[in-house]
């Protein structure tokens, strides 16, 4: 995987006191992008794309309040990727802690209903919406996923996702206790113990994933590469 065609893409990593910033930054550098930490609203203007990372609690939403207005503005102008907590922050609130998210989508983040919480480890993804059904006949994990009894999650046509191009048959590293239950722009879902949650969202170039793409091996790097390439489109 070379990063030649992604040279000089400046990516702001929003620093709001949630961990994981180093890992995201190293993965983006590895792919040839130029990540930098955005600590003040003015930093977002300089970026070609924005990443909102996150290992931590929804209570970190408070730390984001100073940048919220500029972030919402810049998110409309350039590609955006929310990772893990950064995806949950697109919503209004969470069962996990007080705090107001970015409110791009309505609803509240709920606690996972599986036997072992947190949900830690590698899990597969399945497309949401009509494209997902057609998909289910092939793919290395398709039969196992079907056996798990995926819940129905309506959403956009998952297979059209630019972010997830080329990685539908891959697994990704998850580490979380809370998750998005539904979203009109869901592209992928993931199940544990037969309970499904939204694992990816995409609307135009605004994207979010529940898994840690920066820790998901080659497949995760491909997702980040797909994201970086949105800058050029």
């Amino acid at each position: 995987m070379t990063g030649d065609e992604t040279m000089a893409v400046r990516i702001a990593i929003v620093d709001y006191g949630a961990g994981n910033i180093g890992s995201v930054s190293r993965a983006l550098s590895y792919l040839g992008a130029e990540p930098f930490l955005a600590k003040a609203p003015g930093d977002l203007e300089k970026a070609d794309a924005i990443v909102l990372p996150g290992v931590g609690s929804f209570s970190c939403a408070e730390n984001l309040s100073g940048m919220k207005k500029e972030l919402l503005l810049q998110m409309q102008k350039k590609p955006f990727l929310g990772i893990c907590l950064g995806m949950q922050l697109l919503f209004e609130a969470s069962e996990e802690a007080e705090g107001k998210g970015l409110c791009i989508y309505p609803g509240r983040i709920g606690r996972l209903e599986c036997k072992k919480v947190p949900h830690v480890g590698w899990n597969t993804i399945e497309a949401c919406g009509a494209y997902g059904k057609r998909r289910a006949v092939s793919g290395s994990f398709a039969s196992q996923n079907a056996a798990e009894g995926y819940g129905k999650i309506a959403g956009g046509a998952g297979r059209k996702s630019r972010l997830l191009a080329g990685v539908w048959d891959e697994a990704f590293y998850f580490c979380h206790s809370y998750a998005v239950k539904e979203c009109e722009d869901a592209t992928a879902k993931t199940a544990v113990d037969g309970k499904a949650f939204v694992s990816a969202i995409e609307r135009g170039s605004m994207c979010a994933v529940q898994f840690h793409s920066e820790k998901s091996g080659r497949a995760g790097l491909q997702v980040l590469k797909n994201f970086i390439s949105m800058v050029r489109k």
């Binding site: 180093g22 890992s23 290992v55 947190p118 480890g121 899990n123 798990e148 091996g217 080659r218 790097l221």
Partner: protein, 253 residues
């Protein structure tokens, strides 16, 4: 669906891999970073580095290792082996490790587990337990690299560790370790069923059927491998293909 994890473990001393004869093709087969990267590229789902250096320079070597691995390996990795304080843990986690493993220090000071978890999250704190059969059908917890019997019951200690804030248990059977005769399945199952956090089985893997047993009979979430990989008995892709044939869900990289 949640997949079962295969986790190579590298013992590191003074910056060198202690066991590591399999990759003679590597320019430097004793370099933990090169070996870690090789395992990552072959499809390791995670990596564990146990630094067994016993010098005052130890923290420095662990931090250097964590930051070098983080630059090249894009799956989660753990650093352990003598982390004794919050400061040790913070230094390694800040350098880029995803998790730290606590063993002796957790037994001597269980509050340390919660102290690290409060800042870095439970997912960052793995408690490593070395257990040995005590002749009465139970297992005792041994510390100081398996040289001191604490007399603590291993299953009870696992529950305690979870309550203290551990996010994962690395369970090694001292009886099986190095035997290549299979994991201690009874121990693994008792521990895995006693807690709701993931349990990594360790000690005794001789091949794919042992690993399959750890998952199916031992109820483990992940399997730690050392000797069978380091001495070239098998490879990660080969093991995963064999596990997939046994209908164990694994990630093919």
């Amino acid at each position: 669906m949640l997949l079962k994890r295969i986790i190579p473990c590298l013992d590191v001393k003074n910056g060198r891999v202690v066991k590591g004869k399999s990759f003679v093709s590597l320019a430097d087969a004793g370099d933990p970073v090169a070996l870690g990267r090789r395992y990552y590229e072959e499809g390791a789902d995670e990596l564990v580095f146990l630094d067994i250096t016993a010098t005052n320079e130890k923290r420095k070597t662990m931090v250097a290792l964590a930051s070098a691995v983080a630059e090249q390996v894009f799956v989660p990795f753990t650093v352990g082996g003598g982390i004794a304080s919050f400061r040790d843990a913070a230094a390694v986690l800040d350098a880029g490790a995803d998790k730290i493993a606590l063993n002796t220090a957790a037994v001597e000071n269980p509050a340390l587990i919660g102290k690290i978890a409060a800042v870095y999250g439970s997912q960052a704190v793995m408690v490593a337990i070395d257990a040995k059969r005590n002749g009465q059908g139970r297992w005792d917890v041994w510390i100081n690299a398996g040289t001191t019997n604490t007399g603590k019951d291993a299953v009870a200690w696992t529950r305690e560790a979870q309550a203290a804030g551990a996010g994962e248990i690395l369970l090694t059977s001292i009886d099986s370790d190095g035997s290549n005769a299979g994991y201690d399945l009874e121990l693994t199952k008792e521990v895995a069923e006693a807690v709701s956090i993931p349990v990594i089985a360790s000690g005794g893997a001789g091949g794919a059927s042992d690993i399959a047993d750890a998952f199916l009979k031992g109820k483990a979430d992940a399997a730690l491998l050392a000797g069978i990989l380091h001495y070239g008995k098998t490879t990660i892709p080969k093991l995963k293909r064999e596990l997939a044939k046994k209908e164990i869900p694994v990630r093919m990289a």
